[in-house]
Amino acid sequence: MAFAAFSSTAPPPTTAPPPTTAPSTDPAARRRSPVALFLLLPGILYLVLFFLTPLVSLLLTSFQAPREFGDIGQYDYAFRWQNYVEVVTTYWPHIVRSFSYALAATFFALLISYPLAYFIGVKARKWPLLQSLMLVLVIAPFFISFLLRTLAWKQLFSDESFVVQTLKALSLMAPEAHVTGTAFSVIFGLTYNFIPFMTLPLYTTLERLDVRYLEAGSDLYASPFHVFRKVTIPLSMPGIVAGTLLTFIPAAGDYINASRDFLGGTGTQMMGNVIETNFLVLQNFPAAAALSIILMTVILVIVSIYVKRSGTEELL
């Protein structure tokens, strides 16, 4: 799968090893040895036990039926496929909202991040110090609590805040209107929180972009726009794919931004919110499990189609 697409993003760029000149071990040189089994076994077993079996658990739970004469939260293993019909009919607005909010946030994050990543990766090459300073600033939000960051926006957007008061005083906003609790503020929060996830992979591909290709394009009388569309974008495709996936996947499952105590309201609840409520509050485990399975399946389908269509299959 898109393993390589992610690998370019995972190391924080500031601490990532410098690209050394040492040759990478080519597959032919790999040895077969019992040592491999010893190295792989603990971690792989761990993932089987705490990643794979939980998914199976989740699938089994999603078909559970309520126990006859049982208390709330008591279920028995069964094949109650109606659970799926029920969650879809009850929660279809949340399902639609999750994917449309995530799509919008991904779009805005790409729009905001691309020029920034282009400047850091291409234009700032001449000044390595500026380049690393800007990268530190891009990842700086990671160093402060995700929840506090989101709450800061909530307070900046609250009705008593300077921002909202000013907008209202200038009649740019209706006096009875709110910012928090709207689709706008949830998408805004998602966009803000995932910009670093978008910028970093874009930066890694743009940093390696050979500017001679761009010069060749202009030498052949292509307009700057044409060079950008026909040369820069295709060459930075791996970064675009990795960045959009790293934004879209967590955004679709997020429930902090959409939560009522943060940037959301009753009309902006996403799938994550209903999964949380069903699991932790209502103890309706089968409904939460069925929704989780739907979320994961849709994401996996979208990811595989997207990766195929964008022509970055060689990354898999």
Binding site: P19, L47, I144, P250
Partner: protein, 268 residues
């Protein structure tokens, strides 16, 4: 005129975008000095009291949660970094069966939304009858950190010249000596980067923790629960302190790396 506009547009835009990213950080930092009572929403005046007595509020509930997060982060990081590094070495250096299945198993946790990972583990703990406490949080955090460690360390292993280890073996170094004296020191920067990433992921995780923590509080969980009734400024103090320490670490690593690169450049 047109030329100078084009020349300045991108830098100006980038500066604005970075400024935008800094707004909530600045807000959190400034409000750690707010002389507020229970909730920290409106500005009441400047004070250093919150920094001086961070643990005084609510019988130290914030500090307790913060301590739990540190402990969980350290334990999960140690386990995940060990397992992940071993896998990374195996993937780059060895041939083995089920290679593509292994890659898929390592990729999937990163492509699964956290809410699904959290609910899945919680469903498993529920069906097996494991009570949720500190241990279940550590088990959950270790799980999602392993894949990130593998991708980070893998890059470092791939850039390692096998000839260096061969030279060690030629000089009659035992397998253990070659690993301890050559392989491990060369991999160390990658391993440290992976450990830092893993700690950061664990420390700031809320979604998976929320499903698997039971009554145990962590720093993000404390903030989530307090969000409804107002967060004390002490939480801002702790978050700001973590931010400052992290920035110092990152800048030090950067400066040290740049100095090393310059020394190497002078040698060659």
């Amino acid at each position: 005129m047109k030329l100078s506009l084009g020349k300045w547009l991108l830098p100006a835009y980038s500066a604005l975008a970075l400024l935008f990213l800094m707004i909530p950080i600045g807000y959190t930092f400034v409000y750690s000095f707010n002389d507020s009572l229970k909730s920290n929403i409106t500005w009441q005046g400047f004070t250093l009291d919150k920094w001086r007595g961070v643990c005084n509020v609510q019988n130290g509930a914030v500090c307790q949660a913060f301590g739990n997060s540190l402990f969980i982060g350290v334990v999960a990081t140690v386990i995940a970094t060990t397992f992940g590094t071993m896998i990374a070495i195996a993937i780059v250096r060895y041939r083995f069966k089920f290679r593509s299945q292994t890659s898929l198993l390592l990729f999937l946790p990163m492509a699964t939304p956290e809410v699904v990972l959290g609910a899945g583990l919680a469903a498993q703990f529920l069906s097996v009858g494991v009570p949720k406490d500190m241990l279940t949080i550590i088990l959950a955090h270790t799980m999602f950190c392993i894949s990130f460690v593998v991708v980070t360390v893998k890059a470092r292993v791939a850039s390692l010249d096998p000839a260096l280890e061969e030279a060690g073996r030629d000089l009659y170094g035992s397998a253990a000596q070659v690993f301890a004296r050559i392989t491990f020191p060369l991999l160390l920067p990658g391993i440290l980067a992976a450990a830092l990433l893993s700690f950061a992921l664990s420390f700031d995780d809320f979604i998976i923790t929320n499903f698997n923590s039971g009554a145990v509080s962590t720093f993000p969980k404390y903030i989530y629960i307090s969000a409804a009734r107002g967060i004390p400024a002490e939480a801002n103090v702790l978050a700001s302190a973590v931010f400052i320490i992290a920035i110092i670490v990152v800048v030090t690593v950067q400066v040290a790396g740049a100095a090393k690169a310059r020394r190497l450049a002078r040698l060659s």
